[in-house]
Each structure stands twice: as C-alpha cells, then as structure tokens.
C-alpha cells in the first residue's frame, strides 16, 4: 500500500469545519452518505466513497431534555439530545440547541421536527451540533 493512498478522513473533516464546511462521504456505488465521514460504505460495503459538503438541514426523531449528568456541556446550554437525520440521509446522535424544559413538549408533539447543523468551538477544535428550527 502506498502511503499517498491513505487519505486523512478525520483530519480533513476537522480542517473543513475550520473553513465553515460540514463534510460527509458519499458512496460511489449506492449513494449512501456517511456522516460523520468514514471510508467504507456501511450500507453496501463499497470501498469507494467521496467527499460531499452537507447542507446542514436535518430533522430529529427523538428528544431528551438535558438534565443532571446529561447537562455536561454547560457552556452550550440550553440543549436537548436527539436522534438526528440529515437531509442526505445520514443518522447521528447529537446535541440539539434551543431545547429547554419549557419548550420540549411542544417539539415532542411534532416529531420529527426540523433542525440545522451548527459549527461550535471547543477546546482547540470545532465540532458539529444542531439547533432547532424556529
């Protein structure tokens, strides 16, 4: 194996976040989009995937209000936790900003509800969370 063939998927993902872009990998065989990006398609097993910039549009199917231990990320409060599905079909568990104990029921009654990706600064790197659509 040539070293040049070994693409840095993880580093590229974080480098692109610095530029404001959220990237996934699309399978060249079945079109499945992996987010967060990995290099083999989990749906069909194809070895070939390619970079795709994600729209950031998403929905969430479940909702848990942050409370107790799940309030771990104090600087990002208020947030909830949920199963997020991106417009491109990828699924990921994520923080959903803007969820409070007061408005949770309203969103719970209209699941799946809309949300959108948001790039946030952590200690020395950027990451992705989501924010409810108002």
């Amino acid at each position: 194996m040539k070293a040049a063939k070994m693409e840095k998927i993880v580093k590229t993902f974080y480098d692109q976040l610095e530029k404001g872009k959220i990237m996934g990998r699309r399978c060249t065989a079945c079109g499945n989009v992996e987010f967060p990006p990995v290099f083999i398609c989990n749906k069909c097993g194809c070895f070939e995937t390619e970079w795709i910039e994600l729209s950031g549009k998403a929905t969430f199917q479940s909702l848990m209000v942050a409370n107790g231990q799940t309030q771990k990320y104090q600087d990002l409060m208020p947030y909830g936790l949920g199963a997020v599905t991106l417009e491109e079909g990828s699924e990921v568990n994520a923080l959903i900003g803007g969820i409070t104990p007061e408005n949770a029921e309203e969103y719970r009654n209209k699941l799946p509800a809309g949300c959108h990706a948001k790039i946030v600064q952590r200690d020395g790197y950027k990451t992705v969370m989501f924010e409810v659509d108002k």
Partner: protein, 434 residues
C-alpha cells in the same frame, strides 16, 4: 428507523458445549470493610475460579486453556492480567487470553470459552473475570495496597469507550445513553415522562427486592426500610424524590444506575458428551450466542443491537420466545431491562412496563428478570457481572436457590449482555436432560 445494522448468520457449533461449573465471589467494596480490605485481583479471580472448578469436578490439571476478563486497567494496573492470574489457579504454563469489553466482558467470556471448545481445539476451558471497580491499584505498590475510586474519577475513565474520531467531540454519544432507551420506550408506547419515571423506579425496587434475598449482593437493605428511616411512608414518594434519588438525565434516576464494586466470577465449559466424566450435575448446554456492536453515535443503538443479537440466536437455535423461562439483562442503566425483555419476546411488546410495575419480574413473579438484583443492586464489578449473571442462572436452573428460587424451574434461559458503548450479546442456555 433506517439505521444501518449489518447482519450476520450464525452457524451451528462444531460440537455441543455445556457449562459444568460456576463460581462467584461476593460483590463488595473491598476497602470499606476491614475483612475484605487488601484482597487482590489474583485472590478474587482465584476464589471464583476455584469454586467453578470444584463445582465442575475438575482440577487445574484438567483445564486446557483459560480466558481472563477485566474491563479497565486501573483495577489491577495490568494490561496482561491473565499472565499473573495463572499463579493463583494452579495453571502456570497453560495458554490463556485476556480480553476486555467493558461491561460486556463477562458475557463474552462465555462466548470465547464456548468457541474454544466447540472448535475442537480444547476440551476443558475456564473463563473468569475480575474487576476492582471501586478499589483501584496503586502503581508500584504491592497488589494489596488500594485506594477508593470516587465516582467522578470513574466517570472520567468512561471516555475509553467512546469514539475519539467524532463521537466524543460531538458530545451527544457519551450522555445520550442515560436516557436513550427510556425515551424510545416512552415515545413508542405513549408513556409520559412521569409514567416512565414510575416504571424505572419499579425496576429499581424489583432489583433491590431480589438482591436483599441474595447473600452475594452488595446491598443488604431493601428500599422500603431505607425510605421509612428517611421519613417516607410511601415508597414511591421516596423513589421519586429528587433529593433521595436525583435525576441523572430526563428519565433516569441515580437508583436506576449501577453500584460499581469489586468482584469476580468464573465458568467451566466442556464438550457436552464429556460432562459426565467430571460431574453428576446436569450439564447446561450453550445453544447459541448472538452478537452485535453499535458505537454510541448510532440512533437507538441498544434497540438495534439487541434486535440483531436476539434475531441471530433465535434463528440459529430455533428456540421461540415462549420457551424462555428466565432472563438476565445487563442493566447498569435500568431501562435496559424493559427494552431487552420486550425485544426478546420475554415480555409482551408495549406491555412489559405493566409486568414490571406489578412486580411480576421479581424472583417470586411469573416473569422473573435478574433474580440476583442486577447491576443496580447486586452490584456492578464491570467485567465480572456477566459471569455473575451466568452463575445465578445456573443455580436457578439447578433449582438450588432456596427461598429465592423462581417458581417454575427454568429450563431455558436468555442472557442479554451489554457494554463498552456498546457490545451486545444474546445467549441462550438450556439444561441438558439425560
């Protein structure tokens, strides 16, 4: 839910394998009691395996190979603890493998032992797990010197079970598991947050009731007594008090989570046809073990992985849910009991919460679950817990549990392993009639 879960078809073992011996130490916080303070991992592993060997009627000379499980290295300050363990069990020079799958270690301890015998390579295999989940080793000091590990320090080490490429950074994975299965259940079957809270508290009550009847459990006092001492007449007022039983998430409360502790457990397996050479007790055949892993960024991972593991083992064995007489479920977050029992068909889908609320899943109920008290009340010596469940299952199947014997002698038992963010197994074992 269209989460990608790759599937596997299991094939029959090359030869039938049975459990012929089990052992388990008390689950305890060794440093809290002068009687147990200073016990070492070699000694706990030794006591559990010695009991298993005596139970099986085998000597260390009969054992061809052994597996050793430990979830986290702080307990022993070893990454190859199997090597040291040989000294304590009369097996110097025997081959062995150490494995570590966090809270699923003890369930996969059975999987590996069975595979080793089923392959034909070995006849008698020992599999033991030991964990110091509370009293951790002090580097460079002899093994009897230990210190208590505070909960916060333990929670820090759980980072070792989460994906570092993305999941830790995206933050949801390490915390969503507190509530994920409870939220799934409440949403799917139309329970309010408060109703689900009540069901979760009932699970904790049932586990505690089972544990106080078990001499090896870490807890000795039942919740109604504790509540009374704290001034509560109504047990649910105590269980749902944010002061006495604080919320860990939106649904889960403290008493629905594990009590981490120290302990060890072990099992001996051999070809079913050889069992009578060692013991007069009926062998307990391992019919099959399903396996599925899903990392913590995946939606409802416990639901998906349990479905797949259960699907595999039912397909392989042809066993139907109606044939399962007793179930053990790794429940360090107690909603696992409910979702896993329903996925296995042990409790009716969407109705399991009623069974739990009516106490029907206690050892004296008609659908017993975790007759030892589970992780929230038997205690959670992380690696060892799976084999502690197996120990309890075997004794229930032999009918020798005395006052806490389940009503109908169980013939077929399922054990649902879970752990390490998350490795899921579903094993079916059955008493082999002569």
């Amino acid at each position: 839910m269209n989460t990608v879960v790759n599937q596997t078809k299991l094939h029959p073992y090359s030869r039938s394998v049975s459990i012929i011996g089990v052992g388990c130490t008390p689950f305890m916080n060794t440093v809290d009691d002068p009687e147990t303070e200073g016990l070492t991992e070699g000694e706990l592993f030794g006591y559990a395996t010695m009991e298993a060997m005596q139970d099986a009627g085998v000597s260390p000379k009969d054992v061809d190979f052994y597996f050793h499980g430990q979830a986290a290295p702080m307990g022993s300050d070893y990454i190859t603890p199997n090597i040291m363990a040989a000294n304590w069990v009369g097996m110097k020079g025997k081959g062995s493998i150490h494995h570590s799958e966090a809270c699923c270690t003890g369930y996969l301890a059975l999987e590996q032992a069975v595979n080793a015998v089923a392959s034909g390579k070995y006849n008698v295999v020992l599999s033991g797990c030991v964990e110091f989940g509370d009293a951790i080793a002090i580097p460079y000091k002899p093994a009897c010197f230990r210190r208590k590990m505070p909960m916060n320090e333990f929670l820090e080490t759980t980072r070792w079970i989460y994906d570092k490429a993305y999941t830790l950074g995206m933050m949801a994975g390490p915390v969503i598991n507190f509530d994920d299965s409870a939220e799934y259940y409440a949403r799917t079957y139309g329970l309010s947050v408060d109703e689900m809270d009540t069901v979760i508290c009932h699970m904790a009550l049932n586990n505690r009731y089972n544990a106080v009847h078990h001499s090896l459990a870490i807890v000795k006092e039942d919740f109604p007594e504790i509540a009374k001492k704290a001034g509560y007449e109504n047990i649910m007022d105590y269980m749902k008090s944010d002061r006495e039983n604080p919320k860990m998430g939106e649904y889960l409360r403290l008493l629905g989570t594990e009590i981490k502790c120290d302990g060890a457990a072990a099992v001996i397996v051999c070809p079913t046809e050889m069992a009578s050479q060692f013991t007069d007790q009926k062998p307990i055949e391992v019919l099959g073990i399903g396996s599925a892993c899903l990392e913590s960024s995946n939606h409802n991972l416990e639901i998906h992985a349990t479905r797949e593991a259960v699907r595999q083992v039912y397909e392989l064995t042809g066993v139907t849910p109606e044939e399962i007489d007793l179930m053990y479920i790794n429940d360090f977050m107690i909603p696992s009991q409910l979702v896993a029992a329903e996925i296995a068909g042990y409790l009716p889908e969407g109705e399991g919460w009623k069974y739990i609320s009516e106490g029907r899943t206690r050892f004296d109920g008609d659908r017993p679950i975790n007759t030892n008290g589970g992780r929230t009340s038997f205690g959670h010596a992380h690696a060892a817990s799976g084999l502690a469940d197996l120990y309890e299952a075997v004794h229930q199947m032999r009918g020798d549990c005395g006052e806490r014997q389940v009503k109908k002698l169980p013939k077929t038992v399922m054990l649902r392993g879970f752990g390490g963010s998350q490795n899921v197994t579903a094993a079916i074992i059955r008493t082999k009639e002569a």
